[in-house]
Symmetry: C2
Subunit: 331 residues, 2 copies
């Protein structure tokens, strides 16, 4: 096995976020479930956009956000996802390459357009997401570079991308490629509604021993296990994966590995502006430590620091120099 060229290769939705502040009343009126992610078609996306205030367009996508964090810390990364040949596709490609991430999947011509996520951010910083998958759902299995996957320390997958059929096939092929090269597979559960649709698949992946590192928040762990009690759910899930990272918002995060658990407090910040990307950046910090062989406590600290940075401003990608921030905050 040669030395890996990449620390992390991720497969995810290639999405541009369209973000605007919104009142709780507006989120209610529109019939949205606050804090959740729903898939919408083009017409529903247009209607929601109509109801939205002035917005900012900022590149997003869960796994892509995680890579942006990893790259900002100094990791070598590649992204696999599908954009369309349009202006938002160019924005996505520019922004991911601008932070040094390899992104080689050719833009797809014709309809539909590049994926976008309409995000209503309420005054408490919570985000409510409405995703038009667009071109993202047409990521073909042929877009994978199996040699590159075999040469990456970690393959990272987002649960969100399990919804569309073609990318799901691509992710299964990628898991097989990583496995046969003896690499690790990390997976984020993404969202309770996604688990409602695909929980059986996720549980099968875990039972088949295909997931090495699993990320989830409290709601997602409950959805996976059917156990409302956090400790019981986490223990049940932890018994099935080598590493489980459970993020718990202001209550911090816990890592379960080999029968042991380790907890980190949330990093204090002045004001939560926008929680979009909090989980993604926690995963970035954790994975960065993990690929460098650090102990779980230090991996968790990195996650907490990266998550705190991203929720202190609008947008799901880091704005601060994360490498410098880590150097300052870690011993």
């Amino acid at each position: 096995m040669t030395a890996p060229r990449y620390d992390v290769i991720a497969i995810g939705n290639a999405i541009v976020d369209v973000m605007a502040p919104a009142s709780d009343e507006l989120v209610d009126e529109l019939g949205l479930t606050k804090g959740g992610m729903q898939l919408v078609d083009g017409a529903a996306a247009d209607d929601l956009y109509q109801a939205m205030g002035p917005a900012k367009e900022i590149s997003g996508g869960s796994a892509a956000n995680t890579l942006a964090g990893l790259s900002a810390m100094g990791a070598q990364c590649a992204f696999v996802g599908q954009v369309a040949d349009d202006q938002l596709g160019k924005v996505f490609a520019h922004d991911i390459r601008a932070v040094g991430i390899d992104f080689d999947v050719p833009a797809r011509t014709g309809e539909p357009s590049t994926a976008r996520c309409l995000i209503f951010v309420t005054p408490d910083g919570q985000r409510t997401m409405n995703t038009f998958l667009g071109a993202s759902q047409f990521l073909p299995a042929e877009a994978l570079d199996e040699e590159a996957i075999g040469g990456a320390s970690v393959l990272y997958l987002e649960g969100y991308l399990w919804d569309p059929e073609e990318p799901r096939r691509a992710m299964r092929a990628a898991i097989a490629a990583a496995r046969s090269a003896g690499r690790k597979v990390a997976f984020t559960l993404s969202d309770a509604f996604v688990i409602a649709r695909h929980g059986d698949d996720f549980r099968a992946l875990i039972d088949d021993g295909l997931i090495d590192i699993l990320f989830g928040n409290e709601v997602e762990i409950a959805a996976m296990t059917g156990l409302d009690d956090f400790d019981a759910g986490a223990a049940a899930l932890a018994a099935k994966v080598p590493v489980l990272v459970a993020t718990r918002s202001e209550k911090g995060a816990t890592c379960y590995t080999h029968g042991e658990s380790c907890h980190v407090a949330a990093e204090p910040i002045d004001k939560v502006v926008d929680t979009t990307g909090a989980g993604d950046l926690f995963a970035a910090g954790f994975l960065f430590g993990h690929v460098r062989g650090e102990d779980p406590a230090r991996c968790l600290r990195r996650g907490a620091i990266a998550a705190a940075e991203v929720i202190s401003h609008y947008g799901a990608r880091p704005e601060a120099d994360l490498a410098a921030l880590m150097a300052e905050k870690l011993d």
Copy 2:
């Protein structure tokens, strides 16, 4: 003369800003003049975008920013500008309509794309702008609704739009329509480079008595008059227009009218994040007071408050509730 339907109708570039933090070294290396605005073609825009870090897309355009401020204070406004039928055109149209501004100019099909402005924001908050005019330069005179212009208290024009030929013709027609209806014409000088190209036209407009309210900063006033001494330049220009508003960054702003002058200090803020839109929002505050018949001191205070808000965050449109902010800060 019937009561005006609009407080302000503005004609301006319909632009989406593409903004990214940048080092002074990068601005130097790219051969850009810090603090200025240069026009670039599509190829140059692509090259500059390539050199840019991860960016945010936020609707901009000088006069459109001014209207966004006016609308946020409670004024009735309409915008005239040209977007293309593409994703950034939809973003621009959405964002301006979302704040209650009427915008009825149909999107233009085919090339070129919607205008964009690549803005490098240095750590001192200064912005260096590179504008690809795109569809914006094809605003036809037929896009004007002369009846609406005749029914607006103020017609507001941006100097930036004097560069392309078709909008220049449209603006001349708009001035004639406003004049014949007995309405006021306000004009912002926009940029010293624009004055270098079109100063003779601007001076002729002023000499012909077609401008009632003129906005400019120190550099622009020097470029218009050839006088490096601010007081001398402002006095020379003030002699030719009923109202001259001279903005002077951290030194505040001065209004010259009917032989008198009135000064306002800059509104204190914690940190200058991004000066993009400072002049635009100063104009918004001033015009809001002006159309309500307030005295120059109060108009200036409104300008200072609105400008302070916009430079405290990324993007050239207000994020705070300007009406509430005015109520809080004014007696």
